[in-house]
């Protein structure tokens, strides 16, 4: 079972994106699909402790994507997750104080040797 608080934070972020940044319904839908990867990666753990996970998000995406992911799709998923983590750290500074900005900025980096899988 996934952590409901993580899901609620994702929903809050999507609402914020729509209301404040004026993102369209299609963009919101795409963002939610991308953020599902983060929710599945975190599982039952709170998002505040994701930096301590053994595997990286990109490695998790490679494991889950049975049909394969192309570079652009993977980069899009990672970018959305980076935006979300930056937002959540700004909105919940106490809960996410252990997650460093440098770690969030590095989340979009793809491991060497896994650049392109189609």
């Amino acid at each position: 079972m996934l952590d409901r608080q993580n899901y609620l934070k994702v929903k809050l972020f999507l609402k914020y994106s729509r209301d404040v940044h004026g993102r369209s319904s299609l963009q919101i839908s795409n963002d939610f699909e991308h953020l599902k990867a983060l929710l599945l990666w975190a599982g039952s753990q709170p998002l505040g402790s994701v930096h301590a996970f053994n595997s990286s998000l990109s490695d998790f995406l490679f494991q889950v994507g049975e049909k394969g992911l192309d570079q652009a799709e993977l980069q899009g998923v990672l970018n959305t997750n980076q935006r979300f983590l930056l937002w959540v750290k700004a909105m919940f500074p106490v809960e996410f104080q252990n997650i460093r900005l440098s770690w969030i900025m590095k989340i979009t980096a793809i491991s060497k040797g896994k650049e392109v899988i189609i």
Partner: protein, 144 residues
């Protein structure tokens, strides 16, 4: 604890059939799942009354497991499928009676290539029944 009150089939829209597999393995409230599937909450509560899997906590709040609900939606799709009944040799579909009948006095006319045309009479209404036969070596041809 889960509760199923009525297990009759529900009409599930195509949009829900597409979106339901994307539900996450977690507990949703009815409002959340209705938002994710883009259906009115009243519709969702109607499905719950018709046997959609859900549970209630001590405060009597309803919780829906995303994966269980997706499996239920999939089962509803399969339940609504009509069983296929391929036409047997000498059978045809009468458009007047709206049913499959055994063609009487059937005559076969070759059309083109492997395609032939079986024309006969419906034993119920006496109307003309037509049927295309794809394979020239089919059972209808051997019967005639």
């Amino acid at each position: 604890m889960s509760e199923n009150q009525n297990t009759s089939n529900c009409r599930i829209s195509r949009n829900v059939l597409i979106k339901a597999p994307g539900l996450l393995p977690m507990l949703y409230t009815p409002r959340e799942i209705a938002e994710d599937l883009a259906v009115p909450e009243t519709t969702l509560r109607d499905w719950l009354n018709h046997g959609a899997p859900h549970s209630r906590d001590k405060s009597n709040h309803i919780w829906i497991d995303g994966k269980e609900f997706a499996a239920w939606v999939d089962s509803q799709r399969n339940a609504r499928k009509k069983p296929a009944h391929p036409l047997q040799a000498g059978e045809g579909f009468c458009m007047r009676c709206n049913t499959i009948v055994k063609i009487q006095n059937g005559k076969i006319h070759p059309v083109k290539g492997h395609l032939s045309h079986l024309k006969g009479i419906c034993p119920i209404c006496g109307g003309i029944v037509n049927r295309g036969i794809w394979n020239a070596g089919s059972a209808e041809l051997s019967q005639s």
